[in-house]
Symmetry: C2
Subunit: 215 residues, 2 copies
């Protein structure tokens, strides 16, 4: 805290990682228009993010979650591994619980939706730079809820993964080297955790909640 005081005289140096050129441009303009904030680096490539971070040592990183190739979560983890004190704010278009969860797991300090009003974005950058962990209203609660609602075990996740591909219990069993009965057992607890009746509902629910990803 005492160390941070020194920084107050110099602007907060921000790095942008987003694959949309127009969005990057807009966000950059938006940040530059704020007193005490400046953009020192930009990229649309998750792989390049770490290199750029090494070079520029920004105070705060605004990281898009959905990046082509290396995703935002991976990029964030890579940065945090080398620079554990890095302040990363994750940006995304949709507020899907799983995205948020994975973002926070990867070490992000905050999570913002892209349609957040500009003043809020600037405020969040300042707060995160000051060492705070900023989450939108009710987000903390939702993260807590998530734990209870769908803390799927490893196996259940694996089974779910195959379920999403439309595989039968027998096929899933064969893929995971399990008996069909075991698969059914996992499905039973999976259904109860997701509060659904059958596999189709489970698939839909999982996709809706962002527990698994299509594409």
């Amino acid at each position: 805290m005492a160390v941070k005081k020194l920084k107050k005289i110099s602007p907060i140096r921000v790095m942008l990682v987003d694959d949309h050129p127009a969005f990057r441009k807009g966000m950059a303009a938006l940040i530059e228009s704020e007193p005490g904030l400046e953009v020192v680096a930009q990229t649309g490539d998750g792989r390049e993010a770490l290199n750029l971070f090494r070079q520029k040592k920004p105070d705060v990183v605004l990281m898009d979650l959905r990046l082509p190739g290396v995703g935002g979560v991976e990029a964030t983890m890579a940065i945090r591994k080398e620079f554990p004190d890095a302040h990363v704010i994750v940006l995304t278009t949709f507020d899907m619980d799983e995205d948020i969860y994975r973002a926070m797991q990867s070490g992000a300090k905050s999570y913002l939706l892209k349609d957040t009003p500009e003043d809020k974005i600037a405020a969040t950058i300042r707060a995160v730079h000051a060492g705070e962990q900023v989450l939108p209203h009710g987000m903390a609660q939702r993260l807590a809820d998530r734990q209870k609602r769908a803390n799927l075990s490893e196996r259940e996740m694996e089974v779910l993964q195959h379920l999403i591909k439309g595989r039968s219990n027998k096929e899933i069993g064969a893929s995971l080297f399990l008996s069909e009965d075991t698969v059914k057992a996992h499905l039973k607890s999976l259904f109860s955790k997701l509060k659904v009746q059958d596999r189709t509902e489970a698939a839909i629910s999982a996709i809706r909640q962002g527990i698994v990803h299509l594409e």
Copy 2:
């Protein structure tokens, strides 16, 4: 065509409809930096789009497909209803076939992904203003394919709609006032059209292809 020649001396007047402030800002900056293009109106509200169009009479509209409340498709249709010659370019984040299809149905002249490089965006605006219909590589083919691949009948679509909600055949039948057997019959042809084996696969496939929408 001859009429258009007069316009070449004045800049192409562009209107932006997108609910992301940062994206709008960036896109505006991007357009303004192009010679012969200028932004005359911006809004993040689909309802406001028509009013703004009436006031400003832009040459080209860049319209986000996913808008809160009134969607981009509806806004586009509203504008085209009153101004059949309006040049609308639909923007979106993901290239889902159904989105593209509905966008083109609503009367859009072109369809662009938000991560399209800036020069391409400017080129598209100019082309559309000149009266061309611009579709990304292979898009025309995909639209054609879509027709063949999944030309689901009305009933099949209805059944699919319920299937996505995780309903059983019996429940679907009750909802549509059909016998369970009829539902099964529709499912049979649905499965063969989607080239899948069961309802879960069908649900996943339909969502992937954007034939139906979650949320």
